[in-house]
């Protein structure tokens, strides 16, 4: 269960305050969060991930209260239990597709890179149809291929919760459809909880729950930024 209570967050030096009085979401389900740009959806996602820390209130993920953890504990929890996918994919350009997938295992002592992990990466890449691209530098991959690498990276740690920030925002309609199919199939098989921020209303029916973000939040001041909804 994801539980958010009386959450309040503001960026230092900016006129933006996000308030979410209450939000509950059962583990193992899929949810799409929609809403206008600049309202704080990405901020909410980063608060759920423990990357941002609320000024007030609490965020609980599967009985673990993130707001009571220190930075090191939150990072350890995030890398072990939460997978993240970003709109810009955010792959490391000097690494191959395989090394990008294995990145979480190289940047923390919490995870150990074993032969079994590498095998799992190969299996995942097979499922996502990018086996032949494993050793190719990610700069030489198409948008669709890059997004699949990003999904593999997020899923490789077997996270209980997958947070995706407009994962199909940069894809053409064919790739968008294919990526969503893969995403849904994978989370259903692995019983991963999926929370997706999206502007794509055509595919909302695929999710078990659709959250209109203005309904759960009370922004005091919305500060719209160009090119995204991050305040």
């Amino acid at each position: 269960m994801i539980e958010v209570r009386n959450l309040q967050f503001e960026y230092p030096g900016r006129e933006f305050t996000l308030r979410v009085p209450s939000f509950d979401f059962p583990f193992g389900s899929t949810a799409a969060i929609t809403g206008p740009s600049g309202i704080g959806k990405t901020t909410f996602l980063l608060l759920l991930a423990g990357y941002l820390v609320p000024g007030e209130g609490k965020v609980t993920i599967n009985a673990t209260q993130l707001s009571e953890m220190n930075d090191r504990e939150r990072r350890a929890f995030r890398i072990r239990h939460i997978g993240m996918v970003f709109q810009e994919f955010e792959l490391i350009e000097y690494l191959s597709a395989l090394d990008n997938m294995l990145l979480p295992f190289r940047i923390t002592p919490e995870l150990e890179l074993t032969r079994e992990v590498v095998e799992r990466a190969r299996d995942l890449s097979g499922a996502f149809g990018i086996t032949g691209l494993m050793h190719r530098n990610v700069r030489r991959l198409s948008q669709g291929e890059r997004q699949r690498v990003a999904l593999c990276r997020a899923l490789l740690t077997k996270p209980g919760l997958l947070l995706c920030d407009e994962p199909t925002g940069n894809l053409d309609p064919v790739n968008k459809e294919r990526t969503l199919d893969l995403l849904m199939e994978t989370v259903q098989q692995s019983k991963t909880t999926l929370v997706v921020v999206t502007h794509d209303h055509l595919h909302l029916t695929r999710f078990e729950r659709v959250v209109d973000f203005p309904e759960i939040s009370q922004p005091l001041t919305a500060h719209k930024e160009e090119g995204g909804d991050r305040p």
Binding site: L46, A49, Y51, D71, R72, R75, A76, F77, R78, I79, R80, I82, M84, F86, E90, I92, E93, Y94, L95, D99, L103, P104, F105, R106, I107, T108, P109, E110, L113, N137, R153, A154
Partner: protein, 396 residues
């Protein structure tokens, strides 16, 4: 640590051009002053040690530096020569011993040193194969000469005429290689040693030719007056001293006036040295006495002064290069801000991410330091020989 090194390796591999430029810049910043210092220090040690083992040098008045460099290393232009009688004059004092040197000729790239047997004892030179000088026309050669020319005892080596236009004398002399010296690690390894008289044969002051008393050569005789015979150019002169023609070699003129280029002088005590120095202070003297250590220290003083100017310049350039390098690192970190943020977002440990970034910078610095260390080591090994070569104006 393995994962950190892997990430560093991947980053460096991907940005190899940038890394190579940074590594080379850093290695040059470190290497230039240290290499310069090493080469000067090593050269100073090597130059001073040879000079230190040579008490005083007598030579024709002129540049003391030229005299010292030629008398110690043989590989510079020969200084003005002076009459042999000046050397004989040294022997008038029982407290003084001396060794004559004649260094005007070469055999290809190697200097020919006309001297006495005392030189070998003084420099602790031993013959590794063959024998030491026995007859006129013999030579013993340094081991590097033997190595480069592929010579063995019993072979011959020809002297190079001082000038192809010198028709008056100084014919090339075919020398008999009598022995090869053991390696000494000094310029003696690259020299050809002959007896002083052999050097004078090369000067054209002594020669050997067919016996004009023979009946068959009457046609060559222009004039006969007692023992004096004047012959024309059809009489064959020998260009090699052999057992059969050795007796025919003879000197013309007063040996006291024959040239030598220097004399290594060994005063028995300080008093003798002081008296000797005083003797050559007179303006009428054609020679002067120099202390090689003093001369070399003066030369090294100049070199060190130049070195200091160069180091100052290098440090200024190095600082600006260092500033540029720091700027490159800072810009690189700024360009990688998103990548670093991604690592933080997905839960990378703060310490691990910092270790990756710091290791990348350290790797570049270490590679630069390693290259500069290799260059400095190579410089320490080869630099002094190169600097000596530059100072002596030829190969070291």
């Amino acid at each position: 640590m393995k994962d950190i090194l892997y990430m560093v390796g991947q980053y460096i591999r991907h940005h190899r051009v940038k890394t190579i430029i940074l590594v080379l810049s850093i290695s040059l910043i470190i290497y230039l002053p240290s290499g310069l210092r090493v080469v000067v220090n090593e050269s100073a040690e090597s130059l001073i040690s040879r000079a230190g083992s040579t008490p005083l040098i007598l030579g024709a008045k002129g540049s003391p530096l030229e005299l010292v460099l030629n008398s110690l290393y043989f590989d510079t232009d020969a200084p003005e020569s002076f009459p042999y009688k000046e050397y004989l004059r040294l022997g008038e004092s029982p407290e003084i011993s001396a060794i004559p040197l004649h260094t005007r000729f070469r055999a290809g790239e190697f200097p020919i040193v006309g001297t006495s047997m005392d030189y070998f004892n003084y420099r602790n030179l031993t013959v590794a194969s063959g024998e030491n000088l026995v007859f006129l026309g013999d030579c013993v050669i340094g081991f590097r000469v033997a190595e480069r020319l592929g010579l063995e005892p019993g072979d011959s080596l020809i002297s190079t005429p001082s000038s192809v236009f010198n028709l008056a004398g100084a014919y090339p002399l075919m020398m008999n290689v009598q022995g090869i010296l053991a390696p000494s690690g000094t310029p003696d390894d690259e020299s050809v040693f002959v007896d002083l008289k052999t050097a004078w044969i090369m000067e054209g002051l002594a020669h050997g030719h067919e016996d004009l008393q023979q009946d068959g050569l009457n046609g060559s005789v222009l004039e006969r007056e007692g023992d004096n015979i004047i012959a024309n150019a059809s009489v064959a002169e020998y260009n090699r001293v052999t057992e059969s023609n050795m007796q025919s070699f003879h000197f013309h003129g007063d040996p006291g006036k024959f040239p030598i280029t220097a004399a290594l002088v060994f005063p028995g005590n300080q008093r003798a040295a002081t008296l000797l120095e005083g003797r050559y202070l007179g303006e009428e003297e054609v020679v002067h006495l120099v202390d090689p250590v003093e001369v070399m220290e003066e030369l090294l003083g100049t070199i060190i002064k130049i070195q200091n100017y160069m180091i100052t310049g290098i440090v200024i350039i190095g600082l600006s290069t260092l500033a540029t390098t720091v700027l490159v690192f800072m810009l690189s970190l700024r360009l990688r801000k998103k990548e670093i943020e991604t690592m933080h977002k997905i839960g990378g440990a703060r310490r691990r991410i910092r270790a990756i970034l710091v290791s990348e910078i350290l790797s570049v610095l270490l590679m630069g330091a390693l290259i500069s260390l290799i260059l400095t080591t190579l410089t320490a090994h080869f630099g002094p020989a190169i600097l000596k070569g530059i100072l002596l104006g030829g190969g070291a």
